[in-house]
Amino acid sequence: MMPDMLTSSLSIAAPELILSVGAMILLMIGVFMGEKSSQTVTGLSVAVIIIAALWLILITPLGTGFGGSFVLDPFARFMKILVLVGSAAAVVMSVGFAESERFNRFEFPVLVLLSTTGMMMMVSAGDMIALYLGLELQSLAIYVLAAINRDSVRSTEAGLKYFVLGALSSGMLLYGASMVYGFTGHIEFTAIARVAAESGSSLGLVVGIVFVLAGLAFKISAVPFHMWTPDVYEGAPTPITAFLAGAPKVAAMALLTRFTVQGFEPLSDQWQQVIVFISIASMVFGAFAAIGQHNIKRLMAYSSIAHMGYALVGLAPASVEGVRGVILYMTIYLVMTLGTFAVILAMRRRDGMVEEIDDLAGLSQTNPVMAVFLSVMMLSLAGLPPLAGFIAKYFVFMAAVQAGLWPLAIIGVLASVVGLYYYLRLVKVMWFDEPAEAFVPMAIELRAVLWVTGLIVFPLYIFVGGPIFAAAEAAAKTFF
């Protein structure tokens, strides 16, 4: 590669460079200033993410770099912006928690930055090696984050469980990738698509696709690879759960979309069955398993499993409408998740954090603003019109119907009716139960996140929806 080609590659990957170099500088600041630096490092890491996002939007040119390993197309740019928003919001929301729980670890924002770098590499992966390395960078940082509260048994258990099962899924993914390489002779997605179109499917190639899909399904916690999700969500410190529920899911879904739609578009009838199966299983399992939950973080874990199922509905048709639906679904899912976790992080009494659903009893009387926003979030997660969650579901189901996948859409609608039950139960607890002890007032940064996300869910999405829809449409068209 000539030096000028390297320069152009680096200019495409500039946001990732900003993040990784920023993470190293912040780590140095943290090491030299000691434990008291955690607030400085947190603030600076948000600044680094914002700089990377602005650089990505305003300066970075579209194109491919590093010999095709790194792709920045409209799809990648859209998903990267989502990832950066999710990470920045998670870091911002951790400030109050760090103060109240004496959780002063400057490594937390540094690891979030490194994990975000991995997610951006995943979104931009143009071949199998970049896919795997990005995924590992993202996951490894998150394993550490899940266990970062090392004196808590539940946190270490969460980290260990996530690590062991994550290593297993990496093994499956690598095995699948080796099969794909063996049967196509290529690692670049575009070259794989060319070979797949020329020579059709073979047994080995299908085995490879299925194993890679299994590895990726683990990362988005789709059934049957969901077992880790409730324990990790419950055990990890809450700001980390808020991070875990948002950005990594977006990145893994983007990777799954690129792998299936860009790499294996000619074999869509082969992988479609797998996607349809895990989609139905996730929707149904998520809806039923959440009913019996008492812990709101576990509830959100099952809710996220179900939501990944709904998002996969859009992936199954392998059409422009479907991919557009996936992009819009992940956007709205991210907003709803961040809003809900802003409330969960505000569930703090004088004697510490609480996370039982019953602790929300009578919230409408003790803190009406929080209750209104959480109700809006819950109803939107359930998919009731006219909230944003309904729009998200509408687009993926419409794409499935247009492709003739009627059963998928019908099962999806039925599952969301079941899901409505447990979301409504939360609303009922907040509005009709006897008030429990009031929470301490919400921290300013949580309030900011809650107001922004709440207003986007309703009614702001009507106004900002147009440009986002157009951008998602343009992003989806990159594959077709």
């Binding site: 590669m1 390297l6 590659s9 990957a13 990784s20 190293m24 780590l27 770099g65 590093f66 010999g67 390993s69 790194f70 670890r105 490594e107 540094v110 690891l111 490194l114 770098t117 991995g118 590499m121 090696i129 970049a130 390395l133 990005g134 590992e136 960078l137 490894l140 940082a141 394993y143 550490v144 266990a147 970062i148 090392r150 980290g159």
Partner: protein, 205 residues
């Protein structure tokens, strides 16, 4: 010339086989590990003879330099009772034999497959350009920092995360731990370090 190569091949091969046997038969586990190191070094010599100098160096640096030393630490730290461990060894001998035979069969198939099916030889990824034009290390270096710079750097970032993670999860700042402070040591003067006392004979301080 070929005679010299064959001579060294047999030397390294005998050392490797003998070392491997001694790993199993040595009574002292520390000796076992030392024979393991000998086997690694001999295998590195064999790699060198085959023209795979990169593998040879990696074997020395990674296996001898890191893995075997780690083994040595583990063996010396754990007080192993080898006689106790060897009691049930005969029970597992059939399994070991089966696994060994399977490995042998795989090696035979891998080594002789191209004799029976000539097209197999073409399908293996041959190093480009051929060995006599460019050495292994040079070939790796010419793509590692150019075509695969992204992967190389990403792998570096992953190792960085692993290092940060290990420190985050295990380092504890203990209270009252005595640490060496070189500036404080250098900055000492006789005035602060030495105290002169007049001691009367027959009495202590």
């Amino acid at each position: 010339m070929l005679g010299l190569q064959a001579f060294f091949f047999y030397i390294f091969a005998f050392i490797a086989v003998g070392g491997a046997l001694m790993v199993v038969f040595a009574r002292n586990p520390v000796h076992s590990v030392l024979f393991l190191i000998l086997t690694f070094v001999a295998a590195a010599g064999l790699f060198l003879l085959a023209g795979a100098e990169f593998l040879a160096l990696i074997l020395i640096v990674v296996y001898v330099g890191a893995v075997a030393i780690l083994f040595l630490f583990v063996v010396m730290m754990l007080d192993l009772d080898l006689a106790q461990a060897k009691k049930g060894a005969l029970k597992y001998a059939p399994f070991g034999l089966i696994i060994g035979l399977v490995l042998l069969a795989e090696l035979v198939v891998a080594g002789t497959g191209s004799v029976y099916q000539p097209e197999l030889a073409k399908s293996t990824a041959l190093p480009m350009p051929p060995l006599y034009e460019m050495s292994n290390i040079r070939a790796l270096g010419s793509v590692l920092y150019t075509r695969y710079i992204l992967f190389f750097q990403l792998a570096g970032l992953i190792l960085f995360v692993a290092m940060v993670g290990a420190i985050v999860l295990t380092l504890r700042h203990k209270q009252g731990l005595k640490r060496q402070s070189i500036p404080a040591q250098v900055g000492r003067t006789p005035a602060t370090a030495i105290e002169i006392r007049k001691v009367e004979s027959g009495r202590g301080i």
